[in-house]
Subunit: 501 residues, 2 copies
Amino acid sequence: MSLVRILMFLIFVRASLQASAKDVEQWSVFEVSFNVESRINPFTEVQLSSIFVHDSLKIKVNGFYDGDNIFRIRFMPPQAGEWSYVTKSNVASLDDRKGKFKCVEPSSINHGYVCVRDTFHFAYKDGTPYLPLGTTAYAWHLQEDSLCKQTLQSLKESPFNKIRMCVFPKKYRWIMNDPAIFPFEKKSNGEWDFERFNPTYFQELDKNIDALAEMGIEVDLILFHPYDYSWGFDEMDSITDIRYLDYIIARLASFRNVWWSMGNEYDLIKSKNDDRWDSYFKFIKANDPYGHLLSVHNGPRWYNHSKPWITHLSLQTKELESLVEVRDKYQKPVLVDECGYEGNLPWEWGNLTAKELVHRFWVGISRGCYVAAHGETFLDDNDVLWWSKGGVLKGESVERIRFIKKISESFPLAKLNPVSKGYWRKRGGCCAGDDFYLYYTGNTQSKYIEVELSDNCLYDVEIIDAWDMVVRKYDEKISGKCRINLPEKPYQVIICRNIKK
Amino acid sequence: MSLVRILMFLIFVRASLQASAKDVEQWSVFEVSFNVESRINPFTEVQLSSIFVHDSLKIKVNGFYDGDNIFRIRFMPPQAGEWSYVTKSNVASLDDRKGKFKCVEPSSINHGYVCVRDTFHFAYKDGTPYLPLGTTAYAWHLQEDSLCKQTLQSLKESPFNKIRMCVFPKKYRWIMNDPAIFPFEKKSNGEWDFERFNPTYFQELDKNIDALAEMGIEVDLILFHPYDYSWGFDEMDSITDIRYLDYIIARLASFRNVWWSMGNEYDLIKSKNDDRWDSYFKFIKANDPYGHLLSVHNGPRWYNHSKPWITHLSLQTKELESLVEVRDKYQKPVLVDECGYEGNLPWEWGNLTAKELVHRFWVGISRGCYVAAHGETFLDDNDVLWWSKGGVLKGESVERIRFIKKISESFPLAKLNPVSKGYWRKRGGCCAGDDFYLYYTGNTQSKYIEVELSDNCLYDVEIIDAWDMVVRKYDEKISGKCRINLPEKPYQVIICRNIKK
């Protein structure tokens, strides 16, 4: 036995011991690593995968090279019980490695990963409804340490349960700084070596996604974007793109809080056409063992969300009044994750008042859709704008989004559909069967509204001021066709709950 | 000579004397009347017209029967000087009547009738620019006297220079009362006698249009509308419709403050198809001797405003952000005269806040278009809603519209076109050449805006708060590409005036 073989054997034993020593929660990451010095390019020439088996369940995952002679395999067990695995590799010392581990029931804060439920809604894998309350900070994780920590602290204290962020660095007005590290190594001629990922870059990403998972924040991970400056990550060739996707899936698919966002403003990435995008979607769908949420965020041109690999719509749009039509057309969850940010930029995408942004959240909810599109773009002496770099939250919408989170706990989330007909259908009326109705008056000042509730139910009414964050109980119980008096000011949410069961 | 003939002769002499006794201002009404007892139906069987001649100008106008054996001919002289006329009729006593009168220069408050100017704008016939600041009170003139008087007083004190009102009575929620008089006589069987107009009805209309003219208010006179209840004025046959249009033109075309609005929500009038509408437009265009403004107000379906008889767009729309595209497409003045009313109705067309309505006026102005769409729909114990019955003005938008009127006096109205390119083109930037720029920030809170002024000019800047009605002078003079700091709140209008000439 050569020294290397002995070493590998010991590592193998250690890995197995590690795994068996610490039980893994369902929907958490089981990881096994192998210390193998590879003479061939460990990113491009080493093939490594593993089959994980539990009863009749067999799941194949790919491994990845993480630098320093470490190969890793990560797996998210979808079910509790005994799991075993065996590796397969073109490198003998990585091949036919076996092990097992025990997967235990998830803890109370672990609900699994988010999936589509009931056609139009989201729920965690354990069935818990998920109401996306999202923010955007594209490249927060690529800023200096102290800023990253501040961002994480801000997120921890925030109501957000979703964030849009990029894998690749971003350069654009107000974020003109280079990151300290890049996702690829450089060749001696100074060009990127697209055949060598920079593991440190991705280790940082792992760490940050994990930190977000601990806060219950889903990561809508943007795989490509056009704001690349001159790095060229937006115009890599297909082979490089696919290798990158493969690497990302191998590293991150086991993180339960990951969603795949193929691109931010994908249509502004001029180097790729729809055929290429489609092939990337197919690749992810075929290689993600878990079926994480998968979508793409548009610029001016929408992707065809009818395509089968798209799990939900991830829209940039200001046309929120017509979301019911969008929902009807695509028969998928409609998530607007960009509709302008709260801020004071000179441009319309970043100069919304807090009132307008919060209003847009409610426009979504009241149409059985989701507007989870927080972001802040307040000019800053140090160019720390939340939307790109994170930092501290300065706006007035955050508290109103927290209020949404709080009051919606008593709503039958993931069951809200636009009312079936009449005035409110496209104007902000949704319901869960006959037991729960929600109406949103938007930027209007009606003295009363006329609604059509079930004649067979009796309803308690609450009038919620979405801006002032005040909930008023209505004195009367109501039923059938009726009139509900309002305080004649904008942003009123009317909740009718059946109390006769 | 029979007694009748003697009487007619005397009347003729009197009419001629009347006319010559009192000079008529240019663009005012010259009227001559004939007292003739007709044995045939004076509305349908008597043909009466007159040719008015001044130098090489020859204008033919039709006369009309006004009850009590009175036939009238009304004429609006488009030019000062001596005019003569001669009548033509199938009734001998009305035929070949001759006369003349002197037309004098208009007084300082008489600017003529409003026409299209410079493709996209309006001006009075004497060239004075006209900025429409309009309101709507569909059937104010058909309410009881005291209410009519109150409405006229409200209008007198208001900033409005345009009103949308119907010829026919209207019945709809909150206006369920019958008018005291109707436009047609009834037959003995209780049905309308569509061959006999009720002159009293139209005399009242004359009087009210005249009263509005004295206040400088243009009347966008709605000829047909769908809110007819069961009277049937919306579903008369073509012959009756044309006879009605003929009568209206004969009575009212000589009133300089009249605009023809073919229909209010014409597309909801189910009895007429586009061919019929087209034929009515052609009829008006052929028979109105002056070429008053002619358009039609849509419901859900727009009329094809490209048709040659349409002088300007008269739109109902909420899609104000895209007015520049509309303007580009039709190459005519774009006037939005309905985009929701200030009020507290349960429905979206009547529950706007004043802020939102005033905002919409500025959206129009800043796009080189016109949103002249005031209306109030505040619920009232006596169902007196301004939008239909008039009364008193209760809202907060009126004062802001007065403010628009005041500050726009120094604007180069009727020259404002969207800036030719760049960010502001479709977002609220317009200009008059290089000498005047106007930007409107809308419902946003930018800390500054970036604008592109001429390098060859030097600009004074004013920041106008369209809601608070405050004008602040900017300290610096600016030039070329530059940044203008703002107070970070909605509804700011930025005016840049070239001072280097």
